[in-house]
Structures are given as C-alpha cells and as structure tokens.
Symmetry: C2
Amino acid sequence: MSVLLSPERVEIQLGERSYPILIGNGLLGEPRHFDAAPAAASALIVSNTTVAPLYARALRDTLAGRFQAVHMLELPDGEAHKDWQTLNLIFDALLRHGCDRKTVLFALGGGVVGDMVGFAAASYMRGVPFVQVPTTLLAQVDSSVGGKTAINHPLGKNMIGAFYQPRLVMCDLATLSTLPARELSAGLAEIIKYGPIYDMAFFDWIEANIDALMARDPAALAHAVRRSCEIKAAVVGQDERETGLRAILNFGHTFGHAIESGLGYGEWLHGEAVGCGMVLAARLSQRLGGVDEAFVQRLSALVERAGLPVVAPALGLERYLELMRIDKKSEAGEIRFVVIDQPGSAAMRSAPDTMVREVLAQGCAS
Amino acid sequence: MSVLLSPERVEIQLGERSYPILIGNGLLGEPRHFDAAPAAASALIVSNTTVAPLYARALRDTLAGRFQAVHMLELPDGEAHKDWQTLNLIFDALLRHGCDRKTVLFALGGGVVGDMVGFAAASYMRGVPFVQVPTTLLAQVDSSVGGKTAINHPLGKNMIGAFYQPRLVMCDLATLSTLPARELSAGLAEIIKYGPIYDMAFFDWIEANIDALMARDPAALAHAVRRSCEIKAAVVGQDERETGLRAILNFGHTFGHAIESGLGYGEWLHGEAVGCGMVLAARLSQRLGGVDEAFVQRLSALVERAGLPVVAPALGLERYLELMRIDKKSEAGEIRFVVIDQPGSAAMRSAPDTMVREVLAQGCAS
C-alpha cells in the first residue's frame, strides 16, 4: 500500500459536540494524529479477540505518551456478543482500573466494538469521552460516524443505546489490509447506499471504480471513505437525533434488519443484509413511482459486483412484516421505509402491506 | 389533608430541554395537569410492588384519555433491585407491547423507580420521552429533578446512567400520606441539605418548622418541596451536566455513598446515609475552616430531629477511604468532597487522608 503523507480531514459540525474524522494510511502509529483526543490520566483501549492481536499494541504504544496509564480490554468478536453481558465487561474493566469521569475510551475494531464502546462511554458515570478507531470499511464509512451507539435486545437490533458523539474518529486505511473479503463487501454496501439517497455522481464514480475498490486500491478506498463521511456529515449535521432527514441513511435497513433478525444476528453480516435490503427498497421505490426498472437493475448489478447478496432469504412474508413492525422507525405499528423519490433523493414513506408482500415475494429465494 | 386548589409550578430552565415541576395535593387524579406530557399512541406506567397497588390505577385512569393504550409494569421494590436485570424488565415490556419512539414512560414511585425509568427512557431506541411522578419526599425534592438517571454496578452506586431530562415532574403531596416514617425522614435529609449549601434562610425556616414537617403538615410540605425544587432548578440550570457548580448538590454524598455501599445497598436508606454524611462533611468543613463547631452542632441537631442517624457505622477507616476513592467525583484517585465554605455556600475540595481519618474516627460508632 502506498503511504499518504498527510491525512484527509472531514469535520462533523454539531456545535459543542463537533469532531474531526481523519482518513489516511498508517495513522495509528503517529501520536500527533491523536492531538484532538482529550487529556486525562488514563485511557482504556477496547478491542476484540480478532483485531486486538493485530493493532492494539501499536495503538497503546502510540498513546503511551498522552496518558499515565493505558489499559486494554478484549471483547469476544461478533454481532452475537453485542449484548448487555459483553457491555458489562467494559464497565467491569473501567471500575476495576479505577477509571474516572475523564478517562478516555478508545474503540478499536468494527461496528460492533464501536457501538458497544460508544454506549459504554455514554453511560459510564453518565458520560466519559471516547475515540473511534474503526478497522473495518463499514465502520469507517458508517457506524463510527454520527454518534449512534447501541446494543441489541433479544427482541430487536440496536434497541438500547444513546446518541453520543466521539471526540475524534481515526480511519486508518492500513487496517483494511487485514479485512476478510466478506467484510470488505459489507462495507461497500454502505458506500453504495450514499449514491441513491444523496449523490448520483458518487454512484457513477463507484460503478466506474468498483473493481479498484474490490482490489483494495488505497487511492480508491481513500476517496470512497472520504466522500461517504462527507455525505454522512452533511446529513447528521442537519439532524443529529434523527427526527427527520437523518433517517434516509437507513435506506435498505428496514428490510435489512428483518433479514438479520430473522436469520439470527451474525448469520448475514449487517452490510450484506443492507445490500440485499437496498435492492428490495429500490423495488418498493419503483412501485411507489420514484425510480424505474432500469434503476433497480443498475443498483442490483452494482450490489452484486460488490460481492453482496441480492436475493433475500425465505423467512416467510408474514414473518418479514412482523419483524419490520418492531423496527425503530415504525410508529403506532405502521412500518416506515426509506424510499428513493428520484435518483439521488430519499424520503420516509409507509406502504400498503400488500405492496410490501409483492416486493418480498419477488425478491426472496423460493 | 387539605386540598390545594391550584398546583404550584417551578420551571427548570434548560433551553430545549426545559420542563415544569407541578406541586400540589391530589394532582394524580386530574388529567389537565398532564397537559405538558407529549402526545403519543401509547404510554407505559412503571411502578413497584409497594406503590403500584396504591396509585397505579388512579394514574392509568387519569391518562386513559390521552393515550390509546396505557400499559403497566411493576418492578420489585428497593435499592437492591436498581440493577441491569430489573432495568431490562422495562425494555422487555416496551418491546413486548410494541412501544415505539414516541411512547411516553411514566415513573411512578421513589428515587429508585425514577432513576431506572429515566435511564430506560434515555436508552430505549436511543431516547423516548418520560414523566416523573415521584411518590416519596426524597424523590420529590431531589432525584426526580435534574435529569440524573442511573443504575448501580456491584462495584459502585449510580455508576451506569445518563443525563436525561423528563418532560414533566408531578409532585402529588397526597401520595406522601402513605409514606413510611423512615422514608419521610430520608426525604428531609435532602431538604435540610439545601440550607448549608445555598440558603441559610431556608435552613432557619426548616429548623422552625421541623415538627410540622415531621407531622406531614401539607402547607409545610408544600413550601419545603417548592423551595427545594427552586434551589435545585437554579443550580441545575447553571450546570446541567455537573462540570462544576452542580456538584454542590452532593453535599454529604461522598461519605453517604461509602456508608450505603459499605453496609450493602438498602441497609440504610439513601437519605439516612446522606443525613449522617452531611454531619461528617460539616466536621470536615470545620477542619478546613469553613464553619465553626456551633454550625456543626446546629446541623447535627436538625438532622437528629428529622429522625436521621448522626453516628456513622463502623466500617473501618481504610474501608471508608477505599470506598470513597471510587466515587464518581474522585479524579485520578483523589477523593473530592463538597464542603461548606461559609454557611449557605459550598465548594468542591480535596482533603488530606489524615484529616478524613480524623473526621471518620470522631464520627463513627466505636
């Protein structure tokens, strides 16, 4: 991988909760890139059993000059562990080490680690600072940006959490070199997402560069991560707590969450479910008149080229509807979908159950 | 009890998170007093096994006209249950009933119910609205006002929580008629607290009216609750997230939390531990030069007349220090105390361990 000399920087503008995202190659090893992290006596690096052996020591060495004590914690890896029991391991470690209200938490890993460490930071002593160091493509372009933190409940994904912003997000592209191919694809799903909902020129660019992205070309990845973060920053900056616009970032997620929950968390990766969910949501958008069949085919082809599933699992139509009714976006039992009004623009809509059943019947494996 | 015709109202000024506190007699039965609660399809009243049989049905009847569905949940009673397992009962009920992001939670009970329901509201789907209906004197003057929510961790009290404001606090003085004497005294501890830290004229008034308060005279209780809420509102309005001034509300709490934790949560009531903790904190203030021996005696006498303990349990001096070092106010291992600078004014200070040991040696049972 080539070395980028200076990191790119995207600012998330949220008043007193503003913070920078740094994007570059080899950032983890450079103490000066962590200047935006708050000063404190102690820090706790939380990672998982997969990522910690690769990068935790390097991060600790980098932080050693900023904190008197840098503690480490490894969580079990995987969405199946995004629960209270695992979250509590973080609280146990914080209290065991005598961590105080100024202790800085570092989330080193993918979306699961980021979501859990973020919620732990939001809740420990009613809030301590934290820094996101996402090591998956999906976390770099989505879950580490915007302040959504959560754990799962047996009855629903991300049902318990907080809006809580990090002080700094550090996207080190070098960490993507160790990412499994399936997870690279999962990250591409969230990158592709930004096209239909916000920026069709970016969609064109992704189509033209999908082979380079799949081959992990550093320049292509740097552009994709930066542009995704810029779009997310623009949306979140207008609607931090998702009272309106921000919900468009959930394009493909209503169907996707139902797939994840219906199969059991961890069976499909989140990005895989979102990739397939976008195709279903595009079909629904077509039936509602926002896009044409050619657009659906174009999106479906790109999702497939990104190595993602485009046929939904056969969970049964009624099971899908039941799962979608407990989605956080539903209101008074009515399912709400993000649909494409026209290419590059999205909105929240409800749809008749019969139409949703038709979309599912067409899009599911038989 | 006499009936007050119109409730008194104290406004908590926190910008877009501002909310009113209503104080009066028989408010629970009047739907119009709940006009400040948000509109939604559903509500969940959370209470405990002691309070629910007394007031839950009345509250449900009052709310029936505002919500299509009013669900009820009873939690086990007591500080020993202020933990994740009990909190999770609230999430289970919310999901089982298909509650959405607009569902309003009602906390009907004392401080434990209020703290847990508040944290559940802060965390369910990353935040739903909630209303405090405190039925203990302590909750009416302290825990239901100011937005501190939390659960306990085996290694420390209130270690996991959020700053999250209710939309409305409804202090129905009629509910105090069923309060056990010990809990009335516990509430008086937090009322007395506002004197030394903020308003010695109020302290004079409490001294003059302690017998009426102990006899539950409605007019005396109404004044004590209103003035306490006013002072708390003034302090919290200046420092919502306790970065400075707000910490003075913890007068007596550093010692008090150590007593509660050392004896095991629930052995002494929180207010009892705070009552005794204030006497210890006053002695520390005297050694630091803020108040004289006469002040300490005066405070101790009032605490005793309120039916509260003034001699601390013999936990062992080193155990006290160990417990206080994990208090949320401590920083980098240094214990921080709220001390009285001069009567009616408080500040955060650290103190030499030897001085703290002397205060404990003098104030503990032998």
